[in-house]
Symmetry: C3
Subunit: 190 residues, 3 copies
């Protein structure tokens, strides 16, 4: 009898940990882990067309306020300038490193008093390392050292992903070239 | 013996409810609750630049169809006008209440026959009450009393959130000022 | 005694399968099924305003690079053209079929060297078949036979949905008309 009860107790203990495991492996939405399932760092390089650099330009002003034009970024912190871009993505901060993908989309300066922008863009990969796209959207208060935007979806290798990307201005040269560092943290990986 | 069995039965009963709790605490995607994990109501105020109100303007026309310009909203229900904005967010419907954040992004009138728009914007908070951003996107058939758009992501206090926002035009004064009431219901809270 | 233990063993067996069921009914994010919870196919039809077709046009150029205008799509693969649209959605590839909804939003050509675009738009339904909206965003490398964009949210019948949409250019006539086939696969259905 005793041995049978010991076995019974052993089973109960095992079940207890199974149940615990079961509950913690499937947390409620509200207590989901903030540990990323994937982390990546990239740089991208934006060269805005200024009337003289067509060959090298990767971006162009395509919208402007009443007081602006499409060759020079407007007064009042570029408020109202819409810029479309197709920028090379690199693994380090060197513009001339082999690109691993393209950052494609737009930004729009949205405040008179200081520099801020709103971003909608994708990272498009088509190499052996990554195939597919990551889609981003969010506010970019670009005078802050770091700012967070949303990863709103993905395709291919990044199927259905979601997460947060932290953007840093890594270099800023006049009004023609800037380089952003993007730390991508994905929290939903399918 | 009997008391041991009673204990054993007690344990089994406890486990039974633990298991039940475990199962119901982690529902399948398909039966997820439609009860919001967070609800908030805000107002934001849009003053479109019209050539004479630069000081007060919070928004500017930056795109227009061939038949339009960047100072006056175009004929044909403003079809083709792209407007960028940095609007104050308030807790009540008073433009002069202390702003609790900024609504930043753009809208674009997208139909010839009636007023409709497409919105991409963020609520940016940086106060003791809220720190972080909520990102929105969606169609705004603005002649409807209420219309729903998507909360597509968030950062900071609103890390990884998703939900639905119901927009109401709370005031509309000529073509220069309007006020939107936004009822935000978040269904994913991390 | 023996019969009591048999009952006890029976209970333990039942619990074992309950626990297993519990665990598998709530899979971790990382092993979520790639089987769609909903699939739909639609077509939409885009007629770009060219200065002569106002009555039929469903889209208009509203942004252009310094070398462009708002009546003719720009040189260099339309790089920099922003187009806003309100296109009819049909169930088959016939422009004159009864529309089941409207595709509303914008695309922006974003590369000098080849045709690529970035899309932000919604499918807006208001019929007995579907009521609500589906919101899309993503890169459209439109020279590829198929390309995937993200379903970033939804409202009404498509409350809180997420998924992937595969776009195909079904027809392309000069620079005025094109038709896209959209295969929508939703993987999150609430």
């Amino acid at each position: 009898m005793t041995s049978k009860h010991q076995i019974s107790t052993l089973f109960l203990t095992i079940f207890f940990f199974l149940i615990l495991g079961c509950c913690f492996a499937s947390p409620r939405k509200s207590i989901r882990s903030r540990r990323p399932c994937k982390e990546m760092v990239f740089y991208f390089h934006d060269i805005v067309y200024n009337g003289k650099n067509f060959k090298n330009a990767t971006a162009a002003i395509v919208g402007a306020p009443a007081w602006g034009n499409h060759t020079i970024l407007a007064n009042n912190n570029h408020f109202g300038n819409l810029v479309v871009f197709d920028d090379p993505i690199t693994l380090d901060n060197n513009l001339h490193s082999p690109p691993v993908g393209r950052a494609q989309g737009f930004y729009i300066y949205d405040k008179k008093e200081i520099f801020t922008a709103w971003l909608g863009f994708s990272f498009v990969f088509n190499s052996t390392a990554h195939r597919g796209s990551i889609n981003f959207a969010g506010a970019d208060p670009l005078m802050n050292k770091t700012r967070d935007i949303s990863v709103i979806g993905g395709t291919g290798d990044f199927f259905m992903t979601r997460g947060v990307a932290t953007i840093m201005t890594d270099s800023f040269e006049g009004e023609v070239y800037f380089r952003l560092r993007v730390d991508i943290k994905l929290y939903e990986c399918w």
